[in-house]
């Protein structure tokens, strides 16, 4: 893996955004050849999205020939609920850039047949030629997307019940009221993300430090599902100094050097 350590959140966000931007530009996407991007939600990638929007507004980056696939969406939350991932993606990204709405794919948590929706999503990824770059985050419990501790490391897109850690972490978006937080979600599987040609995981903040340690300094383990990426040929972990607090000095020095 590559472990890229930046000084703070802003620098980490910028590094990640520049990386995505360069990947797309180097790919030279066009009418017949789209760049496929997997996208996360949550607090961590907000800075990265802001930077991508900036590059777009400067005229340096177009999403005209980019297809996106989001990692997850809550089940049972109305699509226009301010906390749905559809709302998140619209407000924080889609409305500011020139992506074709037909190319922005997000799982529908209100589909009549949830498993069929998940299967269709896998099919869409396949039809798009697979994911060129999957950008993700890490939960405090080491999960990638909503692949909670105990998820199979070869899992595919499916319905998952959220772990208590996740529900507690999300409560702040629902007025601190646990009863309002959705308990189920549709999520890409660990296997789905592992299929991507390249993976970039964004990890910032001291509260994620332990999860990062478990993910890269301990073994591959279904209790810390991000650890699966130790076996991916091309993964980059982008973090800030605070996220490295639980790592060994030797690890940090090696990757900084």
């Amino acid at each position: 893996m590559r472990l890229v350590i930046l000084e703070d959140y802003d620098q980490a966000s910028e590094w990640a955004a520049k990386y995505i931007c360069n990947r797309i530009i180097q790919f030279k996407p066009n009418q017949g050849r789209y760049f496929t991007l997997g996208l996360p939600t949550g607090n961590t990638p907000l800075g990265c999205y802001k930077k991508l929007i900036e590059y777009h507004k400067n005229g340096d980056l177009s999403f005209k020939y980019v297809k996106t696939f989001n990692m997850d969406e809550y089940v049972g939350l109305p699509r226009n609920h301010p906390e749905s991932y559809h709302s998140y993606m619209w407000n924080n990204f889609f409305k500011h850039v020139d992506i074709d709405p037909n190319n922005a794919h997000i799982l529908d948590g209100n589909a009549p047949d949830l498993q069929a929706e998940c299967d269709a999503f896998e099919k869409k990824i396949e039809e798009a030629g697979g994911i060129d770059l999957f950008v993700g985050g890490i939960g405090p419990d080491g999960h990638i997307a909503f692949n909670e501790p105990g998820s199979s490391l070869s899992s595919r897109t499916r319905l998952k019940t959220l772990a208590m850690d996740t529900i507690l972490a999300n409560a702040k978006y629902f007025d601190g009221d646990l009863s309002k937080v959705p308990t189920m979600a549709l999520t890409v599987g660990v296997g789905t993300v592992m299929d991507a040609r390249e993976v970039m995981i964004l990890i910032t903040g001291a509260h994620k430090a332990f999860a990062l340690y478990k993910a890269i300094e301990e073994g591959v383990n279904h209790m810390w599902t991000v650890s699966a990426f130790q076996q991916h040929p091309r993964t980059i972990f982008v973090c800030d100094e605070d996220a490295t607090l639980e790592l060994r000095v030797k690890t940090v020095k090696y990757f900084k050097g």
């Binding site: 226009n80 559809h86 619209w90 409305k95 020139d98 074709d100 709405p101 037909n102």
Partner: protein, 409 residues
Amino acid sequence: MPSNKSVSDAPIFQFTNCRILRNHELQREDLWVREGKILNPEKLFFDEKGSADIQLDCKDSIIAPGFIDVQINGGFGVDFSLATDDFKSGIDLVSQKILSHGVTSFCPTLVTSPPSVYHQILPQISVRNGGAHGAGILGVHLEGPFISKEKKGAHPERCLRTFEAGAFQDLLATYGSLDCVRIVTLAPEMKRSSEVIRELTQRGICVSLGHSVANLSQAEEAVQQGATFITHLFNAMLPFHHRDPGIVGLLTSDKIPAGRRVFYGMISDGIHTNPAALRIAHRAHPKGLVLVTDAIAGMGLAPGRHTLGQQVVEIDGLNTYIAGTKTLSGSVATMDTCVRHFLEATGCSVETALEAASLHPAQLLGIEHEKGTLNYDSDADFLMLSDSLYVQATYIAGEQVWRRDASGM
């Protein structure tokens, strides 16, 4: 990128680089319009997979809902209370001219007149949508003749009437028809006014209290019966008294029925109301304040003599008096001038000043789902304004109907 044709073939407009008034604050958001209504772009993106056909850069303008003037007696030489042969072209002229003041909907107002005048004029006014031809007409505001002699202001005494004989039947006979009447101003202390207020309210007509010497209990009784508006607060009513606040006391009355709000018109031209009085009213009941112009025929014209119904008035700057007296009679301030003056006099936020001329009048008339806001699915009647609230362009149903040209006209 072309819009998806699954729902509609109509072009989609995206107004960018602007600050829009939404949810009581100026937000840095784009305004999307399709088929004359404000469009929800998120719904368009996810449900229809659609996008804008035409993008317009608003150069950092403020976009606010179009102003709604519920008390305007005329302008540009036209007097709505004068039955002329070319009355229709007169109302058309005013509705077209006020677009440049940011008014997209209005209630032509008739002052106290003899029944013959109402019978001649009212059939010639119809409720109609606005457009390139002019601001929309929401209905007529009948100010009088059922008002108090002591507070007639500029209204002619000989035309005043009471309800004593036949109450509502008298009113109907006086006006002839209530078909496109939206607001009636009356004095609630008059005998039998309660039945009239009830009957008008039942017919969906907004009853306003004004030109009256009512005390607070009489005013509260009127509100119980359905009255919801006060015509030009402070003017033509008893002054506030600490043991009987009169109609002014409605602003803080505890006898307003639950779920109802009393609105009050204010002419904020700097003349009809001292800025300190404007501030007192605003602070006491900010959500009820409705800016009105009470403009008369001389608005938009040079100083001098003009008619107002059966009277002759004299204009000198922003002051208008009954000729030869010091009795104020209507104003010549434009709506956007009133908004700017209100902003300056009260030190309120830009959002508050704009809502006093758009959201509040819409709420008064119960049309806030179509007019007075930039909420999704409401009518796309809006203005582009500079930071100091000068109207740069006026839009009705998404179409530009007026624009300030380079010379500032």
